[in-house]
């Protein structure tokens, strides 16, 4: 029975070849990277296993020794830290994104000022995940009283951007700070309100080959493909900007 269980575990995800690439990527890239993975698998005759979560959680897993080949984060701070600690190679800046205020379709909220109204249910990312830290950077640029009023409306600190989108599409929250690509991926259920240029944080994505990668060469080609290749095109059509 144990042998059968073992066969079951190695069998799934094995795909065609024996080479298997494990990718840990920020939740905001879920749709884009799932779209381009089949092309990469076909071209490389390998199977790609991608797991998506908050960049901070994925970084913590790598610190705990998770066997991952590629790390792709929604900021450059986390990859730079991991690189400084010798856990991943030199990060490649491969895409940019834009922080926006997202509201359910038909909402009366028009600007960031409206979110300061008492009783508005706001959902943001937890301080440890990139989306949450970008949001706090942006709010810190507002006058102190306004920042305080907006933070007082926060009802949930979500562990990743998908959690924020879920609360918005379910109608539980009135507004949330997410990436513009999340609004596009929500298929019209959400409206994006752009932030004034002076409030916009620089959102740059960084990726690198993990030092202990089992497939370093394949991992290298995957990372390069985020900048130029099928995955780069998939990111562009999802709304990500090119590398800065």
């Amino acid at each position: 029975m144990l042998a059968a269980a073992g066969a079951l575990l190695t069998g799934c995800g094995g795909g065609s070849g024996s080479t298997r690439l494990v990718v840990s990527a920020a939740a905001s890239m879920t749709e884009a990277l799932n779209a381009c993975a089949p092309q990469f698998e076909k071209a490389e005759h390998a199977s790609v296993k991608q797991s998506f979560a908050g960049s901070d959680v994925l970084a913590a897993q790598i610190r705990q020794g998770a066997r991952v080949d590629v790390y792709a984060a929604a900021n450059t701070k986390l990859p730079d830290q991991l690189h400084a600690d010798g856990l991943i190679g030199t990060p490649l800046r491969f895409a940019t994104n834009e922080l926006v205020l997202a509201v359910p379709k038909g909402s009366t909220i028009r600007t960031i000022d409206d979110v300061a109204r008492p009783g508005t249910k706001l959902v943001i990312g937890s301080a440890t995940v990139p989306i949450g830290s970008y949001t706090r950077q942006t709010l810190a640029k507002l006058p102190a009283a306004k920042e305080k009023a907006i933070l007082a409306n926060v009802r949930s600190d979500e562990p990743d951007v998908k959690g924020i989108v879920g609360k918005l599409t379910q109608g539980a929250a009135d507004a949330g700070f997410v990436y513009v690509t999340d609004v596009r991926a929500a298929n019209g259920r959400l409206t994006a309100i752009r932030l004034p240029a002076r409030l916009e944080p620089r959102v740059t994505y960084g990726a690198a080959v993990v030092t202990k990668a089992k497939q370093p060469a394949l991992a290298r080609r995957y990372v390069d493909g985020l900048d130029k290749g099928d995955c780069a095109s998939a990111l562009r059509s999802a709304g990500f900007g090119p590398a800065p």
Partner: protein, 268 residues
Amino acid sequence: MRRGGWFGIVLALCLALALTFLTVPVAAIFAHSTPRDLVSTLGDRSSLDALWLSLRTTAVSMAIILAVGTPAAYLLATRSFRGKALVVTLVELPLVLPPAVAGIALLAAVGPSGILGGAVDAAGIELSFTTAGVVVALTFVSSPFYVRQAMAAFAAVDRSLLDASRTLGASEARGFLRVVIPVALPGLASGAALALGRALGEFGATLMFAGSFRGVTQTVPLAIYDRFSTDFDAALALSAVLVAVSAAILLAVKLVQGGAALGGWQAE
């Protein structure tokens, strides 16, 4: 060890394997956190907020489960009716639902855009992002653990005891309270402990249905996940506290049962 021979050895080996597999991860939590870590975790305001919230929500949820679940389990254990198997299956279903499914199901039912969302809202009840929402999530996922066990406990009560109390003129309600519940108590307690443990550990449904906010909806498991990425040691220490609390509950139940549950097959 004459008894059983090779079969006895297989049994012992499997127990050793199971024991190692189940205890090493739990022991590792304590290997990493010194008693001082535990104390400093308890001194941290946000950890205390999470612990206090977990205890409050679990207590309210357990009160609801015991008050409603006990009579419901008694009915299921003592009456026969058409479709009973279906009812029992429906009651037990959340037991095997993944937490994420429980979260989605609650949103689809009583979430703001759920089928009963309008009615809940009209009644002035707010569940998303509120402590009440956490209680709903905990009750949903943990009550089947209690009801199932309570049914088994009631079914095992000797009917002649109740009949005797009836012939002495006691009503069924009185017999239920005075005779059946005391006899079934060890089984009820172990069901309550299972439900309590499940409620204390609830993560996915709470996060999806109620959100995560310090002091309001961020229970201990959510606080552990929040710390995992930035402060692994703090996450470990908080986990250790949760393990200690859960172990204390299990142990207390075993003591209440007076070791009856620990006995082996009695010799004929």
